[in-house]
Subunit: 506 residues, 2 copies
């Protein structure tokens, strides 16, 4: 059988990467745009992926002592104003609620038009993030050092009125978790910020198969109101960077603005040290851009909505029922198996549809393993297995028992292979650069330039000038490279131990 | 030891039921009001209860073929206008977004004020419910009868600008699930409406220990835009009714307004038949009012955030470590046990706090079982068990092995006892009434009148007149009493087989 790929997605990655991305989402039936400007509809296949991400992260948060809670969607303007830098950081993208009712107005053509009415004395914004409203609750909850630490997480929707949106990666409304914690000491708060940064790094690497670079943001790129921002940066297949999760050490900035104070062990009144951290549905966009190919989505098994798809092949009516029974029985056995502490997610596709159409649907949806069982397989107790990380025409025939014995290993192999490819992509596309001329040439000579690591110790203004000139940014100061050999900063020429990673980004 | 209850909550239920309710929530640390008008903060103990409700319901929805998805928070006004009755039903309580940015305005005193800016050409409302926005997606997704049924559920926040709010029971923002389905035939859609109504009834009875009355709403009380509304009605301890869940058969009203049409088996273009259904954080308020006592919350074991609390009693420093180790070991053993398919939720309270203070905190939080282990218990391998459904001073001493053997049974006994009490309350406070004079006297002579079942076949106007006069409503036409003996309608005197249940309500 021919080995050339079918390229179920048009255009291919090489032809038009951004359009390929939209077409993968469409082909996998994950999400679509809605009539509400910049807001997406997350369809079942996309949402199930989000549910898996949620559950797996939530478990990690709870294991490290965090509790979930829920805070108001609407933030009074006066709250937002309390932390000026923060307010200004989000001001240009806030949806503002100004009225609390509608009045029906009959039109000349007999139709009804609804007019905003009941003007509010104080408008609200829909939360773009919840530091201010949660800080205000923390202020009520914190009286003594005994009330600390507060370790709270919220799963919620937030809204930022972005001018240009792109499904999953940048939408006006998105889903996320936002952790907010308050601590007695600076050291504890920094340790919390780093703990979460480590959890994010581990989760993206092991579960999403995205080998992120963990690092700290430069002052220019920090979260509005934070003292330090830690980030995990992913490289996707067009070599752009995506910031996939951030963990902020907020110092006492918000606790002073919102009076999160407590009586300390020494009986003095002190301000708490706070942190905040979050990941969002952006993870899904990153996963798509990192792993998928010209046949559609490739979904890492650990978060795949369905890990194994069983397709009954029923050319003849007389063997149809026996084949479907065999498929269902196999599914039931598989669902009792366990992959990383979760029962296997297995689906039997019994729809009345041609086998080829079914197969390609699951290829495009990125299901890690597809199994076919037909009349001859039934007799021979064999199955035909196909792997999404392999060519779509590659087939493995094996006794059912062999598959049952090996399937967990196979899923882990697929997971590892996906991570391996993403790691290779990343490592072959980050280079070191010690010279400004070479640095400037790099960004001008390629449509999809890789990332550059440079010695960097120059000013914010110099960082901003270079960033603007080449449409790049310092993605992070990678954690493991801040204390090496002295080298000359590419801008100032002064010796520095610090390294910065530069890239274009989404 | 004295048997009289401590009455940890002041006022008691008898003294002031509504205020008692607020105080239970405060004592159990479940939720609080926020500075955002009518919006609550759901604190960890309240949110964990919601998470259990979510997971247990979500499992039932998925087992019956429903899939989760997510739709936009903001609904364009033009969408809402499409179904006029629906729009008018929600018009007076819609939060309206009119601007999409803020501008900082420096004040004379040096402070910054944020002013709404960037006026939208078309305003949005924050979803009060999502029939219109989901219907618009269904319209895109439905081409052929092969695309049906669509069985979709969404977990989300919604907003209704209520004038008077009460934690959990009526808040401007609340959390809920809203199911939306589209079907090929009327019969299938009605079957779906009833399936969900049955799931709700079973879940409230078995898991929340709330013996709801399932029934159908009268035309007056129907959801705006529905052809039929099925409801489950709960009685709480002041004998008021709470509508805890509804399932609507929407006929073709929304599918015609939003063009959810498809090519049928006969090749004609047809409109789909749709349903919607939901339960919300209101369930938590109902649970509190149904079960709690003058010592605080009583939480049914199946949804309790923690089912067993283990309190180490450590009067002497030298046995402290051994006692805490024994508590942790017991917790670990218990967490491997299974109650209704979920691992037991067990917490060891190791805080440095007096034993009495700890005990009363868990009484007020409604934890079903409390265990104490002290120095003497350690030697004798005994434990002291207390049950939340019993007097707070009742103690059961038993060998640890006996407790381990029986604890699942004990939890189920507590669950059954809570349901039993609520069922008794309900059954002793619903009476039949066949006479209008008696009916009218009933509502005038008691502060907390029970429910009345009457033969009823009168007009909407007559129903509304009686409802208004006595601040009551027909809660439902109970499903199992619509086809019995003929009796005279209390208003018209005409013979009817129909029965209506009347009550005051939250």
């Amino acid at each position: 059988m021919a080995k050339q790929p079918k390229n179920a997605i048009s255009p291919t990655r090489a032809e038009d990467f951004p359009e390929w991305y939209q077409q993968v989402i469409k082909a996998a039936d994950m999400a679509e745009n809605s009539e509400s400007r910049g807001c997406m509809v997350i369809k079942p296949w996309g949402y199930a992926l989000w549910e898996n991400i949620q559950q797996q992260l939530d478990k990690r948060f709870k294991q490290t002592g965090h509790q979930n809670a829920y805070f108001p969607l609407l933030i009074p303007l006066s709250h937002l104003e309390k932390e000026a830098e923060h307010a200004e950081g989000f001001a240009t993208e806030c949806a503002v609620v100004t009225h609390h009712r509608l009045e029906a107005e009959k039109q000349d053509d007999g139709s009804t038009k609804m007019i905003p009415s009941g003007k509010l004395t104080e408008p609200y914004v829909i939360r773009p993030t919840s530091e201010t409203i949660i800080g205000s609750a923390f202020s009520r909850w914190t009286n003594s050092y005994r009330d600390l630490p507060l370790l709270i997480n919220q799963w919620a929707n937030v809204m930022r009125w972005e001018m240009r949106t792109r499904l999953f990666l940048r939408t006006a409304e998105f889903l996320w978790q936002e952790g907010h914690t308050a601590h007695e000491t600076k050291e504890e708060a920094i340790a919390e910020t780093k703990l979460i940064h480590d959890i994010y790094t581990e989760f993206l690497t092991n579960n999403l198969a995205i080998p992120v670079i963990p690092g700290e943001k430069s002052e220019v790129e920090r979260f509005p109101g934070a003292d330090r921002t830690f980030t995990i940066e992913a490289m996707v297949q067009d070599k752009k960077a995506i910031q996939t999760g951030t963990s902020h050490f907020l110092g006492q900035n918000f606790s002073k603005a919102q009076d999160i104070s407590f009586t300390g062990r020494d009986n003095t009144i002190q301000h708490a040290w706070t942190t905040s951290w979050g990941v969002s549905t952006r993870l899904i966009g990153t996963l798509i851009m990192a792993h998928s190919d010209d046949d559609g989505l490739i979904c890492p098994p650990r978060v795949a909505p369905q890990q194994i798809i069983i397709i009954p092949v029923t050319p003849k009516e007389d063997s149809r029922e026996a084949i479907i029974d065999a498929c269902e029985a196999l599914a039931t056995t598989l669902r009792h198996k366990d992959f990383h502490g979760e029962p296997l997610r297995v689906h039997v596709d019994k729809r009345d549809l041609a086998g080829g159409a079914k197969k390609w649907e699951w290829v495009k949806k990125g299901a890690p393993i597809r199994i076919e069982i037909g009349p001859r397989d039934l007799e021979s107790r064999k199955i035909c297995m196909q792997r999404r990380d392999e060519d779509a025409f590659e087939k493995h025939f094996m006794p059912k028992e062999t598959f049952l014995r090996d399937c967990i290993d196979t899923l882990q192999q697929i997971q590892n292979e996906i991570l391996h490819r993403a790691t290779e992509l990343r490592d072959t596309n980050i280079s070191e650069c010690g010279d400004l001329t070479e640095f400037e040439r790099h960004w001008s000579t390629s449509d999809q330039p890789g990332w550059l690591t440079t010695p960097w110790d120059a000013s914010n203004e110099e960082e901003e000038a270079l960033s603007k000139k080449y449409k790049i940014a310092i993605r992070c100061l990678p954690l493991d490279q801040q204390d090496g050999e002295d080298a000359q900063c590419i801008k100032t020429g002064q010796p520095t131990k610090k390294r910065a990673i530069w890239a274009r980004s989404y």
